[in-house]
Amino acid sequence: MSNATIEVDGLHKRFGPTQALDGMTFTVMPGRVTGFVGPNGAGKSTTIRVILGLDAADQGRALVGGQPYPQLRHPLRHVGALVDAAALQPSRSARNHLLWMARSQGMGANRVDAVIELVGLDSVARRKAGGYSLGMRQRLGIAATMLGDPPVIIMDEPFNGMDPEGIIWMRQLLRRLAGEGRAILVSSHLMSELQDIADQVVVVGRGKVLADAAIEDLITRASSDDVLLRTPTPAEAAGALQRAGAAVTVIDANALSLSGLEAHRVVEVLGRAQIPFSEVTAQRATLEDVYLQLTSGEAEFRGRPAGEAPR
Protein backbone atom coordinates (compact mmCIF):
# COMPACT_ATOMS: atom_id res chain seq x y z
CA MET A 1 0.00 0.00 0.00
CA SER A 2 2.22 2.75 -1.28
CA ASN A 3 -0.43 5.44 -0.85
CA ALA A 4 -0.70 4.67 2.86
CA THR A 5 0.82 7.89 4.13
CA ILE A 6 -0.20 11.15 5.69
CA GLU A 7 2.08 14.13 5.24
CA VAL A 8 1.45 17.20 7.30
CA ASP A 9 3.69 20.08 6.35
CA GLY A 10 3.95 23.39 8.12
CA LEU A 11 0.28 23.93 8.96
CA HIS A 12 -0.68 27.29 10.41
CA LYS A 13 -4.17 28.23 11.44
CA ARG A 14 -5.54 31.01 13.55
CA PHE A 15 -9.00 31.25 15.11
CA GLY A 16 -9.40 34.87 16.12
CA PRO A 17 -6.80 35.53 18.82
CA THR A 18 -5.87 31.86 19.15
CA GLN A 19 -3.02 30.39 17.13
CA ALA A 20 -4.44 26.89 16.81
CA LEU A 21 -1.73 25.51 14.51
CA ASP A 22 1.74 26.96 14.51
CA GLY A 23 3.85 25.06 11.98
CA MET A 24 2.48 21.56 12.57
CA THR A 25 4.65 19.10 10.63
CA PHE A 26 4.81 15.30 10.76
CA THR A 27 4.43 12.19 8.64
CA VAL A 28 2.48 9.01 9.23
CA MET A 29 4.04 5.90 7.71
CA PRO A 30 2.35 2.71 6.54
CA GLY A 31 2.28 -0.37 8.73
CA ARG A 32 2.55 1.64 11.90
CA VAL A 33 0.22 3.00 14.51
CA THR A 34 1.16 6.60 15.07
CA GLY A 35 -0.02 8.10 18.32
CA PHE A 36 -0.98 11.76 18.18
CA VAL A 37 -0.94 13.12 21.69
CA GLY A 38 -1.06 16.40 23.43
CA PRO A 39 -3.13 18.24 26.00
CA ASN A 40 -6.58 19.59 25.22
CA GLY A 41 -6.31 22.53 22.89
CA ALA A 42 -2.92 21.47 21.51
CA GLY A 43 -4.28 21.40 17.94
CA LYS A 44 -4.84 17.67 17.42
CA SER A 45 -8.43 17.92 16.23
CA THR A 46 -7.73 20.97 14.11
CA THR A 47 -4.87 19.14 12.40
CA ILE A 48 -7.13 16.18 11.68
CA ARG A 49 -9.87 18.49 10.36
CA VAL A 50 -7.35 20.14 8.05
CA ILE A 51 -6.13 16.74 6.83
CA LEU A 52 -9.74 15.83 6.02
CA GLY A 53 -10.40 19.13 4.25
CA LEU A 54 -13.03 20.16 6.79
CA ASP A 55 -11.03 23.21 7.79
CA ALA A 56 -8.70 25.17 5.57
CA ALA A 57 -5.20 25.93 6.84
CA ASP A 58 -3.93 29.50 6.58
CA GLN A 59 -0.58 28.13 5.50
CA GLY A 60 1.02 24.76 4.81
CA ARG A 61 -0.53 21.61 3.39
CA ALA A 62 -1.67 18.17 4.32
CA LEU A 63 -1.52 15.27 1.88
CA VAL A 64 -3.04 11.83 2.07
CA GLY A 65 -1.27 9.28 -0.10
CA GLY A 66 0.41 12.24 -1.79
CA GLN A 67 -2.83 14.06 -2.62
CA PRO A 68 -4.86 16.76 -0.90
CA TYR A 69 -7.96 15.12 0.60
CA PRO A 70 -10.54 17.17 -1.35
CA GLN A 71 -9.06 15.90 -4.63
CA LEU A 72 -9.63 12.25 -3.82
CA ARG A 73 -12.30 10.78 -6.05
CA HIS A 74 -13.68 8.34 -3.49
CA PRO A 75 -12.05 9.65 -0.35
CA LEU A 76 -13.45 7.01 1.98
CA ARG A 77 -11.64 4.37 -0.09
CA HIS A 78 -8.40 6.16 0.74
CA VAL A 79 -8.98 7.43 4.23
CA GLY A 80 -11.21 6.19 7.00
CA ALA A 81 -11.77 8.81 9.61
CA LEU A 82 -13.45 8.72 12.96
CA VAL A 83 -13.70 12.37 13.87
CA ASP A 84 -16.87 12.80 15.85
CA ALA A 85 -19.02 9.82 16.68
CA ALA A 86 -22.00 12.15 17.09
CA ALA A 87 -21.68 13.42 13.51
CA LEU A 88 -24.86 11.75 12.35
CA GLN A 89 -28.55 12.51 12.15
CA PRO A 90 -30.25 10.84 15.10
CA SER A 91 -33.41 10.07 13.16
CA ARG A 92 -31.67 7.80 10.67
CA SER A 93 -30.87 4.14 11.41
CA ALA A 94 -27.24 3.09 11.72
CA ARG A 95 -27.50 0.91 8.64
CA ASN A 96 -28.93 3.74 6.55
CA HIS A 97 -26.27 6.10 7.85
CA LEU A 98 -23.64 3.72 6.52
CA LEU A 99 -25.66 3.16 3.37
CA TRP A 100 -25.59 6.79 2.24
CA MET A 101 -21.87 6.86 2.91
CA ALA A 102 -21.38 3.71 0.85
CA ARG A 103 -23.44 5.23 -1.99
CA SER A 104 -21.27 8.33 -1.94
CA GLN A 105 -18.27 6.12 -2.64
CA GLY A 106 -19.97 4.06 -5.31
CA MET A 107 -20.30 1.05 -3.05
CA GLY A 108 -23.22 -1.23 -2.38
CA ALA A 109 -25.19 -2.42 0.61
CA ASN A 110 -23.18 -5.63 0.99
CA ARG A 111 -20.15 -3.64 2.12
CA VAL A 112 -22.39 -1.93 4.72
CA ASP A 113 -23.43 -5.27 6.16
CA ALA A 114 -19.83 -6.41 6.25
CA VAL A 115 -18.66 -3.47 8.37
CA ILE A 116 -21.69 -3.71 10.63
CA GLU A 117 -20.68 -7.28 11.35
CA LEU A 118 -17.07 -6.22 11.83
CA VAL A 119 -17.97 -3.84 14.65
CA GLY A 120 -20.63 -6.13 16.12
CA LEU A 121 -23.66 -3.92 15.64
CA ASP A 122 -25.69 -6.51 13.66
CA SER A 123 -28.51 -6.76 16.16
CA VAL A 124 -29.14 -3.01 16.44
CA ALA A 125 -28.21 -1.74 12.99
CA ARG A 126 -31.81 -1.02 11.99
CA ARG A 127 -32.51 1.07 15.08
CA LYS A 128 -32.31 4.87 15.00
CA ALA A 129 -28.76 5.97 15.72
CA GLY A 130 -30.10 8.69 18.02
CA GLY A 131 -30.86 6.05 20.62
CA TYR A 132 -27.34 4.64 20.66
CA SER A 133 -25.07 4.80 23.70
CA LEU A 134 -21.76 6.59 23.36
CA GLY A 135 -19.95 3.27 22.97
CA MET A 136 -22.35 2.09 20.27
CA ARG A 137 -21.95 5.34 18.39
CA GLN A 138 -18.21 4.93 18.61
CA ARG A 139 -18.52 1.46 17.06
CA LEU A 140 -20.76 2.89 14.35
CA GLY A 141 -18.11 5.52 13.70
CA ILE A 142 -15.50 2.78 13.36
CA ALA A 143 -17.76 0.91 10.95
CA ALA A 144 -17.91 4.07 8.84
CA THR A 145 -14.13 4.27 9.02
CA MET A 146 -13.76 0.76 7.67
CA LEU A 147 -16.42 1.17 4.98
CA GLY A 148 -14.01 1.86 2.12
CA ASP A 149 -11.33 -0.57 3.36
CA PRO A 150 -8.95 2.40 3.33
CA PRO A 151 -5.15 2.28 3.49
CA VAL A 152 -5.12 5.32 5.78
CA ILE A 153 -7.08 5.44 9.03
CA ILE A 154 -7.46 8.48 11.24
CA MET A 155 -9.10 8.24 14.62
CA ASP A 156 -9.69 11.19 16.90
CA GLU A 157 -9.97 10.03 20.50
CA PRO A 158 -11.39 6.61 19.60
CA PHE A 159 -11.40 5.31 23.17
CA ASN A 160 -13.77 7.96 24.47
CA GLY A 161 -16.86 6.43 26.00
CA MET A 162 -15.82 2.82 25.38
CA ASP A 163 -16.20 0.14 28.01
CA PRO A 164 -13.09 -1.86 28.99
CA GLU A 165 -14.08 -4.71 26.69
CA GLY A 166 -14.47 -2.25 23.86
CA ILE A 167 -11.08 -0.73 24.54
CA ILE A 168 -9.39 -4.11 24.31
CA TRP A 169 -11.25 -4.87 21.08
CA MET A 170 -10.25 -1.50 19.70
CA ARG A 171 -6.59 -2.02 20.51
CA GLN A 172 -6.60 -5.38 18.82
CA LEU A 173 -8.33 -3.93 15.79
CA LEU A 174 -5.79 -1.12 15.47
CA ARG A 175 -2.86 -3.54 15.78
CA ARG A 176 -4.38 -5.82 13.16
CA LEU A 177 -5.03 -2.94 10.75
CA ALA A 178 -1.45 -1.76 11.13
CA GLY A 179 -0.29 -5.30 10.57
CA GLU A 180 -2.11 -5.22 7.24
CA GLY A 181 0.18 -2.38 6.20
CA ARG A 182 -2.19 0.52 6.76
CA ALA A 183 -1.09 3.89 8.07
CA ILE A 184 -2.91 4.66 11.28
CA LEU A 185 -3.09 7.95 13.13
CA VAL A 186 -4.71 7.78 16.58
CA SER A 187 -5.10 10.90 18.64
CA SER A 188 -5.50 10.93 22.37
CA HIS A 189 -4.97 13.25 25.25
CA LEU A 190 -4.05 10.26 27.44
CA MET A 191 -0.64 8.80 26.68
CA SER A 192 -1.45 5.66 28.62
CA GLU A 193 -4.07 4.69 26.06
CA LEU A 194 -1.37 4.49 23.43
CA GLN A 195 1.25 2.70 25.49
CA ASP A 196 0.90 -0.76 24.01
CA ILE A 197 -0.41 -0.01 20.53
CA ALA A 198 1.55 2.92 19.14
CA ASP A 199 4.78 2.38 17.26
CA GLN A 200 5.44 6.02 16.74
CA VAL A 201 4.35 9.00 18.82
CA VAL A 202 3.85 12.59 17.75
CA VAL A 203 3.60 14.75 20.83
CA VAL A 204 2.08 18.19 20.23
CA GLY A 205 1.50 21.29 22.27
CA ARG A 206 0.29 24.77 21.33
CA GLY A 207 -0.08 23.91 17.68
CA LYS A 208 3.31 22.42 17.00
CA VAL A 209 5.17 19.15 17.30
CA LEU A 210 7.16 18.75 20.51
CA ALA A 211 8.50 15.28 19.77
CA ASP A 212 8.14 12.83 16.91
CA ALA A 213 9.86 9.51 17.56
CA ALA A 214 9.52 5.75 17.75
CA ILE A 215 8.05 4.86 21.09
CA GLU A 216 11.14 2.86 22.18
CA ASP A 217 13.50 5.72 21.40
CA LEU A 218 11.32 8.14 23.23
CA ILE A 219 11.29 5.99 26.34
CA THR A 220 14.98 5.26 26.26
CA ARG A 221 15.77 8.89 25.77
CA ALA A 222 13.68 9.88 28.74
CA SER A 223 14.86 7.03 30.97
CA SER A 224 17.76 7.50 33.33
CA ASP A 225 19.90 4.43 34.17
CA ASP A 226 18.90 4.63 37.83
CA VAL A 227 18.17 1.42 39.72
CA LEU A 228 15.84 1.20 42.72
CA LEU A 229 16.88 -1.13 45.54
CA ARG A 230 14.78 -2.20 48.52
CA THR A 231 16.68 -3.88 51.29
CA PRO A 232 16.37 -4.29 55.08
CA THR A 233 20.08 -3.45 55.47
CA PRO A 234 20.60 -0.29 53.46
CA ALA A 235 23.87 0.72 55.11
CA GLU A 236 25.69 -2.52 54.23
CA ALA A 237 24.23 -2.55 50.75
CA ALA A 238 25.31 1.03 50.15
CA GLY A 239 28.85 0.20 51.20
CA ALA A 240 29.12 -2.87 48.95
CA LEU A 241 27.64 -1.08 45.96
CA GLN A 242 29.78 2.01 46.33
CA ARG A 243 32.82 -0.24 46.31
CA ALA A 244 31.54 -1.74 43.06
CA GLY A 245 31.38 1.79 41.58
CA ALA A 246 27.77 2.91 42.13
CA ALA A 247 26.64 6.31 43.30
CA VAL A 248 24.07 5.87 46.06
CA THR A 249 21.22 8.12 47.13
CA VAL A 250 19.07 7.29 50.13
CA ILE A 251 15.35 7.46 49.41
CA ASP A 252 14.03 6.22 52.73
CA ALA A 253 14.87 3.72 55.51
CA ASN A 254 14.60 0.71 53.20
CA ALA A 255 15.17 2.12 49.74
CA LEU A 256 18.17 3.34 47.83
CA SER A 257 18.56 4.82 44.40
CA LEU A 258 21.65 3.72 42.53
CA SER A 259 23.32 5.02 39.45
CA GLY A 260 26.38 3.96 37.53
CA LEU A 261 25.61 0.31 37.85
CA GLU A 262 23.16 -1.71 35.78
CA ALA A 263 20.48 -3.71 37.51
CA HIS A 264 21.95 -7.14 36.78
CA ARG A 265 25.32 -5.97 38.19
CA VAL A 266 23.55 -4.76 41.34
CA VAL A 267 22.02 -8.21 41.87
CA GLU A 268 25.41 -9.79 41.29
CA VAL A 269 27.17 -7.53 43.83
CA LEU A 270 24.49 -8.00 46.46
CA GLY A 271 24.49 -11.76 45.95
CA ARG A 272 28.16 -11.99 46.35
CA ALA A 273 28.09 -9.91 49.53
CA GLN A 274 25.12 -11.99 50.75
CA ILE A 275 23.07 -8.87 51.42
CA PRO A 276 19.29 -9.54 51.42
CA PHE A 277 17.02 -7.47 49.18
CA SER A 278 13.36 -7.46 48.25
CA GLU A 279 13.45 -5.50 44.98
CA VAL A 280 15.84 -4.37 42.32
CA THR A 281 14.21 -2.33 39.52
CA ALA A 282 15.68 -0.55 36.59
CA GLN A 283 14.01 2.88 36.59
CA ARG A 284 12.55 2.92 33.08
CA ALA A 285 10.49 5.94 32.23
CA THR A 286 6.86 5.30 31.29
CA LEU A 287 5.31 6.90 28.24
CA GLU A 288 3.29 9.00 30.65
CA ASP A 289 6.47 10.39 32.22
CA VAL A 290 7.84 11.28 28.80
CA TYR A 291 4.59 12.96 27.93
CA LEU A 292 4.44 14.97 31.13
CA GLN A 293 8.05 15.99 30.68
CA LEU A 294 7.42 17.16 27.16
CA THR A 295 4.15 18.91 27.69
CA SER A 296 4.79 20.61 31.01
CA GLY A 297 4.10 24.23 30.33
CA GLU A 298 2.24 23.44 27.10
CA ALA A 299 -1.17 22.67 28.48
CA GLU A 300 -3.77 25.14 27.30
CA PHE A 301 -6.11 24.64 30.20
CA ARG A 302 -4.51 23.79 33.48
CA GLY A 303 -6.57 22.99 36.55
CA ARG A 304 -5.79 24.28 39.96
CA PRO A 305 -3.63 21.72 41.83
CA ALA A 306 -5.84 19.35 43.80
CA GLY A 307 -6.42 20.40 47.37
CA GLU A 308 -6.20 24.07 46.71
CA ALA A 309 -9.57 25.43 47.58
CA PRO A 310 -11.21 27.72 45.07
CA ARG A 311 -11.56 31.18 46.40
Binding site: R49, L54, A56, P70, P75, V83, A87, L99, S104
Partner: protein, 256 residues
Protein backbone atom coordinates in the same frame (compact mmCIF):
# COMPACT_ATOMS: atom_id res chain seq x y z
CA UNK B 1 -21.48 13.48 -9.10
CA UNK B 2 -23.66 10.40 -9.60
CA UNK B 3 -22.28 8.89 -6.41
CA UNK B 4 -22.99 12.09 -4.52
CA UNK B 5 -26.50 12.11 -5.96
CA UNK B 6 -27.14 8.56 -4.86
CA UNK B 7 -25.79 9.39 -1.41
CA UNK B 8 -28.04 12.43 -1.06
CA UNK B 9 -31.03 10.48 -2.31
CA UNK B 10 -30.28 7.73 0.22
CA UNK B 11 -30.06 10.35 2.96
CA UNK B 12 -33.38 11.93 2.05
CA UNK B 13 -35.30 8.70 1.72
CA UNK B 14 -34.01 7.26 4.98
CA UNK B 15 -35.44 9.88 7.31
CA UNK B 16 -39.14 9.70 7.99
CA UNK B 17 -39.58 13.47 7.97
CA UNK B 18 -39.00 13.69 4.21
CA UNK B 19 -42.06 11.62 3.43
CA UNK B 20 -44.18 13.44 5.97
CA UNK B 21 -43.18 16.87 4.75
CA UNK B 22 -43.73 16.00 1.08
CA UNK B 23 -47.12 14.53 1.87
CA UNK B 24 -47.87 17.56 4.01
CA UNK B 25 -46.93 19.91 1.19
CA UNK B 26 -49.27 18.18 -1.25
CA UNK B 27 -52.13 17.80 1.22
CA UNK B 28 -51.90 21.41 2.44
CA UNK B 29 -51.72 22.81 -1.07
CA UNK B 30 -54.66 20.83 -2.33
CA UNK B 31 -56.56 21.29 0.95
CA UNK B 32 -56.28 25.06 0.97
CA UNK B 33 -57.18 25.22 -2.72
CA UNK B 34 -60.21 23.02 -2.16
CA UNK B 35 -61.28 25.07 0.85
CA UNK B 36 -60.93 28.30 -1.08
CA UNK B 37 -62.80 26.85 -4.04
CA UNK B 38 -65.56 25.67 -1.74
CA UNK B 39 -65.73 28.99 0.10
CA UNK B 40 -65.88 31.10 -3.05
CA UNK B 41 -69.20 32.55 -4.03
CA UNK B 42 -69.17 34.68 -7.07
CA UNK B 43 -72.16 36.96 -7.30
CA UNK B 44 -71.34 39.47 -9.95
CA UNK B 45 -69.59 38.75 -13.20
CA UNK B 46 -66.31 40.30 -12.15
CA UNK B 47 -63.09 39.09 -13.64
CA UNK B 48 -62.24 36.10 -11.51
CA UNK B 49 -59.38 33.87 -12.60
CA UNK B 50 -60.52 30.28 -12.10
CA UNK B 51 -57.07 28.80 -12.62
CA UNK B 52 -55.37 31.21 -10.24
CA UNK B 53 -58.07 30.66 -7.67
CA UNK B 54 -57.62 26.88 -7.97
CA UNK B 55 -53.92 27.27 -7.25
CA UNK B 56 -54.33 29.40 -4.10
CA UNK B 57 -53.04 26.54 -1.93
CA UNK B 58 -49.54 27.07 -3.24
CA UNK B 59 -49.28 30.11 -0.96
CA UNK B 60 -49.23 27.73 1.99
CA UNK B 61 -47.85 24.57 0.39
CA UNK B 62 -44.64 26.30 -0.66
CA UNK B 63 -43.83 26.87 3.02
CA UNK B 64 -43.62 23.14 3.65
CA UNK B 65 -41.38 22.53 0.65
CA UNK B 66 -39.14 25.42 1.69
CA UNK B 67 -38.92 23.95 5.20
CA UNK B 68 -37.97 20.54 3.80
CA UNK B 69 -35.28 22.10 1.63
CA UNK B 70 -33.93 24.14 4.54
CA UNK B 71 -33.81 21.07 6.76
CA UNK B 72 -31.77 19.03 4.27
CA UNK B 73 -28.80 21.27 5.01
CA UNK B 74 -29.44 22.86 8.43
CA UNK B 75 -30.17 19.51 10.08
CA UNK B 76 -26.70 18.42 9.01
CA UNK B 77 -25.17 21.47 10.62
CA UNK B 78 -27.37 21.14 13.68
CA UNK B 79 -26.36 17.55 14.36
CA UNK B 80 -22.73 17.71 13.24
CA UNK B 81 -23.56 15.28 10.43
CA UNK B 82 -22.12 17.81 7.97
CA UNK B 83 -18.63 16.67 9.01
CA UNK B 84 -19.41 13.09 7.98
CA UNK B 85 -20.92 14.38 4.77
CA UNK B 86 -17.97 16.55 3.84
CA UNK B 87 -15.55 13.78 4.70
CA UNK B 88 -17.39 11.48 2.32
CA UNK B 89 -17.94 14.15 -0.35
CA UNK B 90 -15.16 16.70 0.05
CA UNK B 91 -15.96 18.52 -3.18
CA UNK B 92 -18.41 20.95 -1.70
CA UNK B 93 -19.83 22.31 -4.91
CA UNK B 94 -20.54 18.75 -6.03
CA UNK B 95 -22.25 18.19 -2.70
CA UNK B 96 -24.43 21.28 -3.06
CA UNK B 97 -25.25 20.36 -6.64
CA UNK B 98 -26.25 16.86 -5.54
CA UNK B 99 -28.42 18.25 -2.78
CA UNK B 100 -30.03 20.71 -5.18
CA UNK B 101 -30.70 18.03 -7.78
CA UNK B 102 -32.29 15.66 -5.27
CA UNK B 103 -34.36 18.43 -3.77
CA UNK B 104 -35.47 19.59 -7.20
CA UNK B 105 -36.53 16.05 -8.07
CA UNK B 106 -38.60 15.67 -4.94
CA UNK B 107 -40.13 19.13 -5.31
CA UNK B 108 -41.00 18.30 -8.90
CA UNK B 109 -42.89 15.18 -7.89
CA UNK B 110 -44.64 16.94 -5.02
CA UNK B 111 -45.36 19.92 -7.28
CA UNK B 112 -46.95 17.80 -10.02
CA UNK B 113 -49.17 16.02 -7.48
CA UNK B 114 -50.11 19.24 -5.71
CA UNK B 115 -50.89 21.20 -8.86
CA UNK B 116 -52.88 18.32 -10.33
CA UNK B 117 -54.87 18.09 -7.11
CA UNK B 118 -55.49 21.84 -7.08
CA UNK B 119 -56.76 21.90 -10.65
CA UNK B 120 -58.98 18.91 -9.95
CA UNK B 121 -60.39 20.67 -6.90
CA UNK B 122 -61.01 23.78 -8.99
CA UNK B 123 -62.68 21.74 -11.67
CA UNK B 124 -64.95 20.04 -9.15
CA UNK B 125 -65.91 22.90 -6.85
CA UNK B 126 -65.55 26.16 -8.70
CA UNK B 127 -68.52 25.59 -11.06
CA UNK B 128 -70.75 25.32 -7.99
CA UNK B 129 -69.34 28.62 -6.75
CA UNK B 130 -70.57 30.37 -9.85
CA UNK B 131 -67.43 30.10 -11.93
CA UNK B 132 -69.14 28.04 -14.63
CA UNK B 133 -69.87 28.42 -18.33
CA UNK B 134 -73.29 29.83 -17.46
CA UNK B 135 -71.56 32.86 -15.92
CA UNK B 136 -69.05 33.06 -18.72
CA UNK B 137 -66.25 31.14 -17.07
CA UNK B 138 -64.67 28.16 -18.77
CA UNK B 139 -64.07 25.03 -16.71
CA UNK B 140 -60.53 24.64 -15.41
CA UNK B 141 -58.74 22.45 -17.92
CA UNK B 142 -55.13 22.07 -18.95
CA UNK B 143 -56.24 21.68 -22.54
CA UNK B 144 -56.33 25.48 -22.53
CA UNK B 145 -52.97 27.04 -23.21
CA UNK B 146 -52.89 29.60 -20.36
CA UNK B 147 -54.05 27.04 -17.81
CA UNK B 148 -51.42 24.56 -18.96
CA UNK B 149 -48.81 27.30 -18.68
CA UNK B 150 -50.04 28.21 -15.19
CA UNK B 151 -49.97 24.56 -14.12
CA UNK B 152 -46.49 23.84 -15.46
CA UNK B 153 -45.25 27.18 -14.17
CA UNK B 154 -46.62 26.46 -10.71
CA UNK B 155 -44.71 23.18 -10.62
CA UNK B 156 -41.52 25.03 -11.64
CA UNK B 157 -42.36 27.70 -9.08
CA UNK B 158 -42.42 25.11 -6.30
CA UNK B 159 -39.13 23.61 -7.49
CA UNK B 160 -37.52 27.06 -7.51
CA UNK B 161 -38.88 27.86 -4.05
CA UNK B 162 -37.40 24.64 -2.67
CA UNK B 163 -34.04 25.48 -4.24
CA UNK B 164 -34.24 29.02 -2.88
CA UNK B 165 -34.74 27.51 0.56
CA UNK B 166 -31.69 25.31 0.04
CA UNK B 167 -29.55 28.26 -1.05
CA UNK B 168 -30.59 30.46 1.86
CA UNK B 169 -30.10 27.63 4.34
CA UNK B 170 -26.63 26.86 2.99
CA UNK B 171 -25.80 30.50 3.58
CA UNK B 172 -27.30 30.74 7.07
CA UNK B 173 -26.81 27.16 8.39
CA UNK B 174 -29.32 27.47 11.26
CA UNK B 175 -32.78 25.96 10.89
CA UNK B 176 -34.87 28.56 12.69
CA UNK B 177 -33.12 31.59 11.24
CA UNK B 178 -33.12 30.11 7.74
CA UNK B 179 -36.83 29.39 7.82
CA UNK B 180 -37.45 32.86 9.20
CA UNK B 181 -35.37 34.36 6.41
CA UNK B 182 -36.96 32.34 3.60
CA UNK B 183 -40.52 32.94 4.73
CA UNK B 184 -39.75 36.59 5.35
CA UNK B 185 -38.33 36.89 1.85
CA UNK B 186 -41.44 35.26 0.40
CA UNK B 187 -44.24 36.78 2.43
CA UNK B 188 -43.13 40.20 3.57
CA UNK B 189 -42.84 41.99 0.20
CA UNK B 190 -46.50 41.47 -0.74
CA UNK B 191 -47.56 42.82 2.64
CA UNK B 192 -45.11 45.69 2.35
CA UNK B 193 -46.57 46.36 -1.08
CA UNK B 194 -49.97 46.92 0.50
CA UNK B 195 -48.42 49.59 2.67
CA UNK B 196 -46.47 51.65 0.16
CA UNK B 197 -47.47 53.94 -2.66
CA UNK B 198 -47.48 53.08 -6.30
CA UNK B 199 -44.23 53.39 -8.15
CA UNK B 200 -42.50 51.60 -5.28
CA UNK B 201 -45.36 49.15 -4.82
CA UNK B 202 -45.20 48.11 -8.45
CA UNK B 203 -41.43 47.68 -8.40
CA UNK B 204 -41.61 45.73 -5.18
CA UNK B 205 -44.10 43.28 -6.68
CA UNK B 206 -41.86 42.95 -9.73
CA UNK B 207 -38.68 42.09 -7.84
CA UNK B 208 -40.04 40.10 -4.89
CA UNK B 209 -39.59 36.36 -5.43
CA UNK B 210 -43.12 35.27 -4.56
CA UNK B 211 -45.17 37.96 -6.25
CA UNK B 212 -43.04 37.87 -9.38
CA UNK B 213 -42.97 34.08 -9.51
CA UNK B 214 -46.70 33.68 -9.04
CA UNK B 215 -47.39 35.87 -12.06
CA UNK B 216 -47.14 32.53 -13.84
CA UNK B 217 -50.52 31.54 -12.39
CA UNK B 218 -52.55 34.29 -14.00
CA UNK B 219 -54.65 33.25 -16.97
CA UNK B 220 -56.89 36.28 -17.31
CA UNK B 221 -56.24 39.99 -17.05
CA UNK B 222 -52.50 39.57 -17.50
CA UNK B 223 -52.14 43.35 -17.55
CA UNK B 224 -52.91 43.53 -13.84
CA UNK B 225 -49.94 41.29 -13.03
CA UNK B 226 -46.68 42.93 -12.03
CA UNK B 227 -44.82 41.06 -14.79
CA UNK B 228 -45.38 38.80 -17.76
CA UNK B 229 -45.78 35.18 -16.60
CA UNK B 230 -42.47 33.71 -17.71
CA UNK B 231 -40.54 36.89 -16.91
CA UNK B 232 -41.93 36.65 -13.38
CA UNK B 233 -40.76 33.08 -13.05
CA UNK B 234 -37.40 34.29 -14.35
CA UNK B 235 -37.16 36.79 -11.50
CA UNK B 236 -37.72 33.99 -9.01
CA UNK B 237 -35.15 31.87 -10.81
CA UNK B 238 -32.66 34.72 -10.48
CA UNK B 239 -33.27 34.81 -6.73
CA UNK B 240 -32.80 31.06 -6.55
CA UNK B 241 -29.59 31.09 -8.54
CA UNK B 242 -28.24 33.99 -6.50
CA UNK B 243 -28.99 32.23 -3.23
CA UNK B 244 -27.39 29.00 -4.42
CA UNK B 245 -24.30 30.80 -5.68
CA UNK B 246 -23.93 32.68 -2.42
CA UNK B 247 -24.47 29.48 -0.46
CA UNK B 248 -22.00 27.62 -2.65
CA UNK B 249 -19.30 30.24 -2.31
CA UNK B 250 -19.69 30.36 1.45
CA UNK B 251 -19.75 26.58 1.63
CA UNK B 252 -16.45 26.54 -0.23
CA UNK B 253 -14.84 29.22 1.90
CA UNK B 254 -16.00 28.37 5.38
CA UNK B 255 -14.63 25.72 7.69
CA UNK B 256 -17.12 22.92 8.26
Amino acid sequence: MSDALRAEWTKLRTVASTGWLLTGAVVLTVGVSAAVAAATHVTSGQGQDSTKLSLTGIYLGQTVLAVLAVLTITEEYGTGMIRSTLTAIPRRIVLLAAKAATMAGLALVAGVLAVAGCLLAGRLWLPAAGLNPAHGYALVSISQGPTLRAALGSVFYLVLIALLGLGVATTIRDTAISIGAVLGLLYLPPILAQAVADPMRHHLLQVAPMTAGLAIQATTDLGSQPLAPWAGLGVLAAWTVASLVLGGVLLRLRDA
